[in-house]
Symmetry: C2
Subunit: 345 residues, 2 copies
């Protein structure tokens, strides 16, 4: 019998953070590609478009005028899903309240996080932390997320993220809560604290690291170049980060996102988001099973125009990936940290 080679032999990997399995079939990468070819992400966004409702000085759909902001800028979403006064719908449904914010990262439309200065990224991080404090005082879960690129349903090229706060624990949050709680109970150590230590030691799946942070392609990654961003210290929520840790986070985000863009020399599409200990009434509870982390879920697989589809088998049966997390980490690790756009100028 041949010895096991994860690049050649299909196998299942357990995801302890979601209590589920991912199917790894790396040899599928050898197939010729005959599937859909995407439009490559556009690269001709003007720095300022007075008709773009996210730009400084623009008028938004509700008639409000944006300030001439020169750093980050936030507003409540003009089309909120929120109706805190929703009446009781009866037995089979549950009303909820949600508060939604859009946060612009920068006054320019033709810039993205990896092209911003570390000090500018640091301001985004500070605003994120502030929002967790503000909205977290009232809401159980404050989800910060960024959809980047048209491929990820992003309807506006201006660099921005969204923050949706809710008075309930969303499915994914409830799953992360349960899995981390069970792990601490069983193993006496928080799941992601132990995991970060193991990965830092093994190095096999590390993409970038610094004194305070570690980025890995997690052992259980489902998207081809999915990564997990972890603090080395045990941290519950974004506001708990020290000034030093925030600077260090700005730096590692810039490095990771530069590598992402360099992979296919294109502005890399992804959805990303932060998961930290629940807030609201949970602020008073023991949350030592929680470790702060960010997930990056990018869809591209082989090139700027060939993506992974999570369809048929994945939707009906089981998530499946076509290259190993170790192969993905290796590719990302080897990439330079100077942004390809900077080299060209």
């Amino acid at each position: 019998k041949p010895t096991f080679d994860p690049k050649e032999h299909q196998h299942l990997r357990y995801n302890p953070l979601r209590d589920s399995w991912v199917l790894v079939s790396a040899h599928r990468m050898k197939r010729p590609w005959k599937g859909q070819v995407e439009k490559p992400p556009e690269d001709n966004t003007p720095r300022h478009d007075p008709n773009n409702p996210l730009c400084p000085g623009s008028v938004r759909a509700n008639g409000e005028v944006n300030p001439e902001y020169d750093s980050t800028f936030m507003f409540d979403n003009d089309f909120p899903a929120l109706q805190p006064d929703a009446p009781d719908p009866g037995i089979s449904t549950v009303p909820f309240s949600q508060f939604r914010v859009v946060m612009c990262f920068h006054p320019w439309s033709d810039i993205t996080l990896p092209l911003m200065q570390p000090a500018e990224i640091r301001k985004v991080i500070d605003k994120w932390a502030d929002l967790i404090v503000e909205l977290g005082a009232e809401y159980t879960w404050v989800q910060i997320f960024e959809n980047k690129g048209a491929m990820m349903g992003c309807s506006n090229p201006h660099p921005h993220c969204q923050v949706w706060a809710s008075n309930f624990l969303p499915n994914e949050a409830a799953l992360a809560e349960r899995c981390q709680r069970d792990f601490l109970q069983k193993h006496g150590e928080p799941l992601l604290v132990q995991y970060a230590r193991m990965e830092a030691q093994a190095q096999e799946r590390v993409v970038v690291e610094n004194e305070h942070w570690l980025v890995v392609v997690p052992y259980w990654a489902t998207w081809p170049f999915q990564t997990l961003l972890l603090p080395r210290r045990h941290v519950f929520r974004l506001p708990d980060l020290t000034a030093q840790e925030r600077d260090s986070l700005a730096s590692i985000m810039k490095r990771l996102l530069t590598k992402y863009d360099n992979l296919f020399e294109v502005s890399f599409p992804y959805s990303m988001g932060w998961h930290g200990a629940p807030t609201g009434s949970h602020l008073q509870e023991d949350m030592s099973h929680w470790q702060l982390h960010a997930h990056y879920y990018p869809p591209l697989l082989r090139s700027a125009t060939i993506r992974k589809f999570m369809v048929g088998y994945e939707m009906l049966a089981n998530e499946q990936r076509d290259l190993t997390p170790e192969q993905a980490a290796d590719q990302l690790r080897k990439l330079g940290e100077e942004h390809y756009k900077m080299k060209k100028t």
Copy 2:
């Protein structure tokens, strides 16, 4: 306080089949659309393309020549994820075996299920049932699924589905197993048998029905026009269907898929698949909590070129839909059952 209106007031709905929640924010449909516009599905497929490896008489990648088939045609996938002899990969991963089949529905490339004759669809159903018997004798789970349309990662326009059999219960199968088992234990009746009766009575979410089958937009649907196809009788697996039930299934599939195509006058993309009681060693067990069913997951939202994206918030926090299941069912129900392509000729 206003009375609750699911079209106006956001709410959460429980999905008893996946033990999770879906967030319904129907008022979001009022937003202007500024997101990505898809290429409409192509409509110029030649009936026969000698270079298409799924066509009668074509040579496949492994050198084999397809027969001049005139009904369905099956072959093992040329790029199998399967390695039944995968060696033991050690502690952290689990090897598995999987067997993969491609099944062509028809010799023509320019036809789809809704345009096929009921007798031709019936042959597909019979082959599906045969495969569950054959592969189910050995494998724990036999997943029949169809990815239709480039938008759903389908790499070949020739009408076909895939069947992936595995020696383990995939995540989604394990979830459906657990939820149905728990429900029967608690309520003394299989979940989907009770559910079908309720929906047939309420009519609110019914799309099409006949003597043996019912198609509803389930109460907990996440995709805009998602449907659930259910037998009225308690049936464990596809091979258990009588000849009459199979004819009746062919008829209701044709009606449902015609409505789908008529919705935006386009060949409607989707992923679909069958879930029935597990097989292999489970053939000997009591599976009375199981009810056979098929899921249809179509991505289109507003038109042939505007789709729903399951991205940021959905990936990181909670699935969310933008029109109510009742609205979706109503739209589908009102559509004619003559295919738009037939009218034009």
